[in-house]
């Protein structure tokens, strides 16, 4: 690979280590696919095993799930815009979009906590039945991932503010971007497989 | 070289003699000495597979011996040495196709036997299969005969020449009903029903057991199967109906407590109040005995009893 080709690559790809980090993270995301696949499989098999607790169709409210979906989708979009600005070299644009992404992520988390609390008051908790165990652990694992992502983003914001866009920081932010988009991919399937399906059947 | 091949022949002869001896010894082994049509079909399948497998073993072992003996590096070795031999399409295709053919040859009878095992064995009498609910509980067996209205603990009577339809379930841990002389096993699980068809053609007493590990008393969870002709079986049913006490729910609940019990017989079944094979019945036992499940038996070998429930049969 000659030098000019090397330079035409985005900054986050320019070091050997940077490339390996990105490839490694993609492999990690593939592993996450198996992780969520297992949770979905458990959810699917335990579907309908509600014992004495309420059925999902009785508790699910389309409103909250739709709002949560749109929030996470928008945050994925703004996260993408932040990466776009990073590649343009615009620190200000990048930071603005990242802060918006952070705010949307926190809002999503707030909704999820409210939702869990709401179900608990209606008599559906982790301990209620096999179905509700699977529901809370599947959506909860996604929620934990979002929480982790928020913590990660805060750390990155500090580092970006301190160091600006370098080959190292841009690499880190790009990887965070992959993670954040990926969480939306998972959420699409949770929204479809859990909420929409739960209300159809 | 010829000299060595001669030796090889001697070895092959030795192996064949050994094999014959081994196979004649095998007919003593329970699984290879079936007492009913189910075990027989499984034995036939095993022996059928064994022929192919022994063929593979002979080929691999022979090739292996030749290679190792002939191509060992030593002074004055005459065999050819070709370090750059990197492969041979034709040969590799051949030894891909042969295993494919063997696998196909094994698959066909396997699949047909699998489907056969889900049906009662070919009816040797005009009556349908005898239904027995076999319920496992830590570490004992309940056999309920719903049509006859009787229930036995830790022993089983069956008529010969009639298919038995076992409805398997468990009151607590996962277990498996295995009577090797009559056929293979299936799991007993709480909240689920599995069906196992077995049949005895020869009268006799056979060993049955739980074969799936389920804790401390596992080794002792055995039972005897008494296969007898239909009139003897009928006599036994009637005498049990007349002489055995009725099973009460309290008594049954007490029996469910994890532990080892003796053989018993009753003139009613526990199916009247609970079926552990349903979602409603699956937590019946743990709801009542949660504390007892936490306790240990401190089971030593040879203590408590002589290997499994005693020979004496309860209720008679």
């Amino acid at each position: 690979m000659n030098a000019s080709e090397e330079n035409s690559k985005p900054l986050e790809y320019q070091t050997e280590q940077g490339q390996m980090n990105i490839v490694g993270f993609w492999i990690f995301l593939a592993a996450e696919m198996a992780l969520f696949g297992t949770l979905f499989a458990t959810y699917a098999v335990l579907f309908g095993r509600t014992a004495d607790s309420p059925a999902p169709g009785e508790l699910f409210e389309p409103g909250i799930a739709i709002v949560m979906t749109l929030i996470l989708l928008t945050s994925s979009f703004t996260g993408g815009l932040a990466i776009n600005d990073m590649r343009r070299g615009s620190v200000k644009g990048m930071m603005t979009w990242l802060l918006i992404t952070l705010a949307l992520g926190l809002t999503f988390l707030g909704f999820e906590i409210y939702e869990f609390y709401h179900y608990a008051t209606e008599g559906a908790t982790l301990q209620s039945s096999a179905y509700w165990s699977a529901f809370f652990v599947l959506t909860g694992t996604h929620g934990l991932h979002v929480t982790f992502g928020i913590g990660w983003l805060i750390l990155l914001l500090i580092q970006l503010a301190k160091r600006g866009i370098t080959s190292v920081t841009s690499n880190k932010l790009f990887i965070f971007g992959l993670y954040w988009h990926y969480l939306d991919v998972i959420w699409i399937f949770i929204f479809t497989g859990v909420y929409l399906l739960g209300m159809v059947i | 070289m010829r000299h060595r091949l001669k030796h090889l022949n001697k070895w092959v002869a030795f192996m064949l003699i050994g094999l014959t001896l081994l196979l004649s010894g095998c007919s003593e082994l329970t699984v290879l000495d079936p007492k009913g049509p189910v075990a027989e079909s499984q034995r036939d399948l095993i022996l059928y597979a064994l022929i192919f497998m022994l063929g593979i073993v002979v080929v691999v072992f022979t090739l292996f011996t030749i290679m190792v003996v002939k191509y060992r590096d030593k002074p004055n070795r005459k065999a050819e040495y070709k370090p750059d031999l990197h492969g041979n399409r034709k040969l590799e295709t051949i030894w891909t196709i042969i295993p494919v053919m063997i696998v196909t040859a094994l698959s066909i009878p396997t699949i047909s036997t699998i489907f056969d095992l889900e049906k009662p064995p070919e009816p040797s009498a005009e009556q349908g299969p005898l239904v027995i609910h076999a319920t496992a509980a830590d570490w004992k067996w309940f056999f309920s005969y719903p049509e006859q209205g009787i229930e036995t603990v830790n022993y089983l009577h069956i008529p010969t020449d009639r298919a038995i339809e076992f409805r398997l379930s468990s009151a607590d841990s996962m277990q498996a009903l295995w009577i090797p002389a009559l056929g293979g096993q299936k799991y007993n699980m709480a909240g689920m029903h599995t069906t196992l068809y077995l049949q005895a053609d020869e009268p006799g007493v056979y060993q049955g057991r739980n074969s799936n590990f389920n804790g401390e008393g596992f080794a002792e969870q055995t039972f005897k199967v008494h296969a007898e002709n239909s009139s003897d079986f009928q006599d036994w049913v009637e005498s049990t109906q007349n002489t055995a006490p009725e099973l009460t729910q309290d008594q049954y609940d007490a029996l469910l407590e994890p532990g080892i019990v003796d053989t018993m017989a009753f003139s009613s079944t526990h199916l009247e109040w609970v079926d552990h094979g349903t979602k409603e019945g699956m937590d019946y036992s743990i709801e009542r005995h949660r504390a007892e499940f936490a306790e240990q038996l401190h089971l030593e070998n040879g203590e408590n009893h002589e290997h499994g429930p005693s020979e004496k049969e309860g209720g008679q």
Partner: protein, 644 residues
């Protein structure tokens, strides 16, 4: 919690174990202090990120675990020797076979193979280290602390007793309320995370750090098998992670995945466990296949026969490994159609495996076999594994499996594949790469003694067990009955012979350390692949000059052409990562958190979790870029190592 509940009491064998542990720990501390080696231990080993040292630590831990689980096996065989043996009671026997299985799979087979991969793969592909050396150290320490957590259960809290498969509901909180099962869950979780990280690490290393010219189909076969194994790890281990987490949540937080209450589905555990568990058996067998291929090609002094087919058969086996899990529970009664499908997929695995066997045999054809100890392990593998393989096909026939399942036939089968495959492979690999690791060979004469004791013992132990299975002897019973008599004592005798073989093997390590000739060149066996192009002992940067590769027997070809890998004029400064204590400390904190969770001390566990997160934050802010070794120093090292 009372102290006598905390420690296991009332078992003379366990008291003896406690005394032994205390004495050994005391002796280690004393020796380290006496010889003033604490600093050395910390600087050279606990903080290292060098793949070769980490590999050595993996292998040492695995040997220790082999000793522990092997002792378990001997105790089991002693108890089963005669019908009236009362050496172990039922409970103790259950604990012993559970720890035997779990340790052998998780803390012996996997770390042993991962240790060999650690040492060999970067050397084989001409790399200077792993893609992520820091993560590699973290993987090792999380495995190590996971193993320690599991072994601690022996004296604190009680060992798990539900079998290595831990089927629910038996392993649930109603039937196993003791902390033993929590030890199983959390120790596996901790070491499983490390394994997953290693899988990703090795994949990136192999994808991105190969020497120039080494295309995928010019990689040495061991590297290929490592790559495919890592691929399986990446997709299989998350399944285990989730399954373990679900059972942990069941036990500690009262959910109902695998419980009898709340309409849980205990069989879902079996399903998830084997969805991971079947790929897992290929995780431990494929690297062994790779080792045998390397060893056979080297000592037959001949190219591996059908390299491309060998690679593709590994890939096909890996693919099929995800499609056969149901054959572990054919007897669950999932119906004839389901069982038929999985019967066929299972038997299909015999095809690529059979092809491999014949290719190995063909490699021997027109070769020149040197019967060194490593080669003998590899040769013994072929017939032994064939027996294990064909009985595997028989077990795959669902209708026949109803008779084999849960019997000693099954036990004999998987010991035939796991010992003849994995253990022989580990020993072959260790003997083969030993000079590269330690700078001297293992003694051949003692090595052959250990080989024959072990291999003959192995067949005496496990061949009779096929017949015991056919005679209706189920696995996991804690005593036998007189009908199974003649074969059981024979099996026990064989087991002790294997134990003796292992003891001789370990003695050989000591003997060779004292007496073996030190290696003069890096190429101890007239090797074929790049690891033999490095000097022995291998300098920390591995290759002073990264070689250019033209075939999968790269070093062999170079030797044929009279080329050398080392060209002083091309030496440049080399960038190396710095040593760090963070992985060790972080894993220690995770150990602490898991230990607290075992006893359900939630707040302590949360404190441990926070500690782990703090370590991650520290790492995130760490912009340490490592150091450079300058060219002169490299030249000096190479000159003295190569005797120039």
């Amino acid at each position: 919690m009372q102290l006598d509940e905390f420690f296991v009491t009332g078992e003379p064998l366990i008291y003896a174990g406690m005394v032994a542990i205390t004495l050994v720990t005391g002796a280690i501390i004393f020796l380290l202090t006496y010889f003033k080696k604490w600093k050395w231990l910390w600087r050279e080993w606990l903080t290292t990120v060098d793949h070769k040292k980490i590999g050595i630590m993996y292998i040492l831990s695995a040997l220790a675990m082999l000793f522990r689980a092997g002792t378990d096996a001997l105790m089991m065989r002693t108890q089963l020797a005669f019908p009236d043996m009362n050496f172990l009671n039922a409970q103790h026997y259950n604990e012993i076979f559970t720890t035997h299985g779990t340790i052998m799979i998780f803390f012996m087979a996997m770390p042993f193979l991962i240790g060999l991969m650690n040492i060999v793969v970067p050397l084989q592909i001409g790399a200077r280290d792993f893609a992520f050396p820091y993560v590699n150290a973290l993987s090792f320490w999380s495995f190590f602390f996971g193993a320690m957590l599991f072994n601690v259960s022996f004296v604190i809290g009680g060992a798990p007793d539900a079998g290595w498969t831990s089927y629910t509901p038996l392993a649930g909180d109603v039937m196993s309320p003791d902390p033993g099962q929590n030890f199983y869950l959390l120790a596996l979780q901790l070491s499983g995370i490390g394994t997953l990280a290693t899988g990703i690490n090795l994949m990136v290393t192999i994808l991105k750090m190969r020497a120039p010219g080494m295309t995928m189909f010019k990689m040495p076969i061991f590297t290929w098998s490592t790559f495919i194994t890592s691929f399986i790890i990446v997709f299989a281990f998350p399944i285990l992670t989730v399954a373990l987490a679900l059972m942990t949540i069941d036990r500690i937080f009262g959910s109902h995945f695998f419980t009898l209450a709340g309409e849980g589905l205990p069989m879902m555990w079996a399903n998830l466990f084997w969805m991971w568990g079947h790929p897992e058996v290929y995780i431990v067998i494929l690297p062994a296949f790779g080792i045998f291929s390397e060893v056979i090609a080297t000592f037959a002094k001949k190219q591996l026969f059908g390299y491309t087919v060998m690679v593709w058969s590994i890939i096909i086996i890996a693919g099929l490994s995800f499609l056969v899990w149901v054959h572990h529970f054919f007897t669950m009664g999932a119906g004839a159609f389901v069982n038929s499908i999985f019967s066929v997929t299972t038997m299909a695995i015999a095809v690529p495996t059979g092809v491999k066997i014949f290719n190995w045999l063909a490699t021997l054809y027109k070769s020149r076999i040197r019967t060194t100890t490593a080669m003998m392990w590899a040769l013994a593998f072929i017939p032994s594994f064939t027996i294990g393989g064909i009985t595997g096909v028989m077990l795959g026939m669902a209708a026949a499996d109803y008779q084999f399942h849960n019997s000693y036939f099954l036990i004999a089968h998987f010991h035939y594949v796991l010992i003849a495959g994995t253990v022989f492979g580990c020993f072959a690999g260790l003997v083969y790469w030993y000079p590269k690791m330690f700078g001297h060979k293992l003694n051949e004469r003692i090595g052959k003694w250990s080989f024959w004791l072990f291999v003959i013992g192995f067949h005496i132990t496990f061949l009779p067990q096929y017949f015991l299975g056919l005679d209706g002897m189920p696995r996991r019973v804690f005593h036998i009955v007189p009908e199974w008599l003649p074969l059981n004592p024979i099996s026990t005798v064989g087991a002790f012979s294997m134990g003796l073989g292992f003891a001789v093997f370990v003695y050989n390590i000591y003997y060779s350390y004292r007496h073996s000739e030190r290696e003069q060149t890096g190429d101890s066996w007239d090797g074929r692949t790049l690891e033999w192009a490095t000097p022995t002992p291998v300098p920390e940067y591995n290759f002073a000059v990264v070689p250019h590769v033209t075939s999968h027997d790269a070093y062999w070809n170079m030797k044929q052409k009279g080329e050398t890998v080392y060209d002083e004029s091309k030496v440049e400064p080399i960038h190396m990562p710095n040593s760090t204590g963070q992985p060790f400390i972080m894993s220690a904190i995770m150990f602490f958190a898991c230990f607290a969770l075992v006893f359900e001390w939630i707040w302590l566990a949360v404190a441990g979790l926070i500690g782990t997160i703090v370590m991650m934050i520290i790492r995130s802010f760490d912009y340490n870029k490592g150091h450079h070794i300058d060219a002169d120093e490299i030249k000096r090292t190479e000159r003295s190592a190569r005797g120039l």
